[in-house]
Symmetry: C2
Subunit: 208 residues, 2 copies
DNA sequence: ACAAATTTAGACAGGCTTGTCCAATTCGTC
DNA sequence: GACGAATTGGACAAGCCTGTCTAAATTTGT
């Protein structure tokens, strides 16, 4: 395990103040001196950890968004599968859980660092997802007013039943992820299903 | 400010390991010795803080749920107002923010303590809210399959646009709360509005 | 095989924190 | 005013952690 990976694990488990450089070194399988040689001091190491996690999480999120069902055959099934991928590869995995916890615990202590995350992460992520939903609406599969709102609500809905597990730092089972995604997508489609009239395309055009 | 209140503030700001008893004492306006006289040691004080926050948050949540619109005149407006009350009085206020942060940061370190919170808090909260939605469905105002799912999705939707602010420990403005609640309730009602046929009552009866 | 660079173990100073002890002071109550 | 209880400030030991230093061992590149 690399030093930053070990550091991520320890920072998450113990918090910044409680994290012990000796423990990080031991967990990484190197000597304490090597940690200092590579990263200077604790704060530096912490910043490196957050940047590393942010970068990897963003890469995962964008890779997953690239698999968005633009030409769905079965809209409900395709969106459920997409939501499950999103959860499994971006939100429930190691990097996602760690990054979330570090943001929650230390976000206020490093405003500029997490402002950077906010711009590069959720900012771009939501826009990208909103664009996909807008395209789906334009193609007549959905009836959406504000694609940005719809994208955020989509994510909120498919995660609705995992909140508590996330809060306590746990990893939901595959069944829980699937059930939450299924329930969330069904509700999402009930709300945003294409209206009978062809007004869907018109509304999308007005918003475009 | 009381000792537990000051301790809650410092534990949240600095994390458990980083919290300093001298600082807590100073913030509470007492001497360090008094803190030790009252609470024994740091861990004891931490447990007292979490129990106190849990109790107050639960009280606030149940008081707010009591104001659920059982006989709505304008369903959308009434649910939006309810969602805003929920946010303002339970989720965005001092106790709510503090408790959430402590759970996220230290939940894994005190499994029994937070399991207790989980049972008394979200467990009962969601059931109570689900019961209110079930009654609304029974009265013909909504068409709901599983009231528990609907209750969780309601909360997820009305908070959808506040997630990032919550993550970073901030307090959303009144406008943000209102906008998120409005968008969330509208989507919720689009999904769960009573169907034209009187099947709503029948479905509710079957589920009851 | 050799030289340079890196890694290691361990010691070490300095600082900070927890939790205790105690004498002096203040507070509440009669 | 007087007496018991609580509070205070400060000193204090013990432990832990960070960050540095050094000399030896190991790895790497050529």
């Amino acid at each position: 395990m690399s030093v930053v990976d070990a550091a991520a694990s320890v920072f998450c488990r113990e918090g910044y103040a409680g994290a012990n450089i000796d423990l990080i070194a031991a967990e990484a399988g190197v000597s304490r001196q090597t940690v200092y040689n590579h990263h200077g001091d604790k704060e530096n190491l912490f910043v490196a950890v957050v940047r590393d996690l942010t970068e990897r999480c963003n890469a995962g999120i964008f890779a997953t968004i690239a698999s968005f069902p633009d030409q769905p055959t079965d809209l409900e099934a395709d969106l459920i599968a997409f939501a499950v991928r999103m959860n499994r590869n971006c939100i429930c995995n190691r990097d996602g859980r760690f990054l979330r916890k570090l943001i929650q615990a230390e976000g206020e202590r490093y405003p500029e660092l997490f402002a950077e995350w906010r711009e590069r992460g959720p900012g771009r992520t939501w826009s990208a997802l909103a664009a996909r939903f807008a395209r789906l609406a334009f193609a007549g599969h959905l009836s959406i007013g504000d694609p940005d709102v719809a994208a955020r609500q989509f994510l909120a809905l498919v995660n609705a039943e995992l909140q508590i597990t996330f809060m306590l730092g746990g990893t939901p089972t595959e069944e829980e992820v699937l059930r939450s995604a299924t329930n969330g997508v069904r509700t999402f489609l009930s709300a945003f299903a294409r209206k009978k009239s062809p007004a869907g395309k018109q509304a999308a055009l007005i918003h475009a």
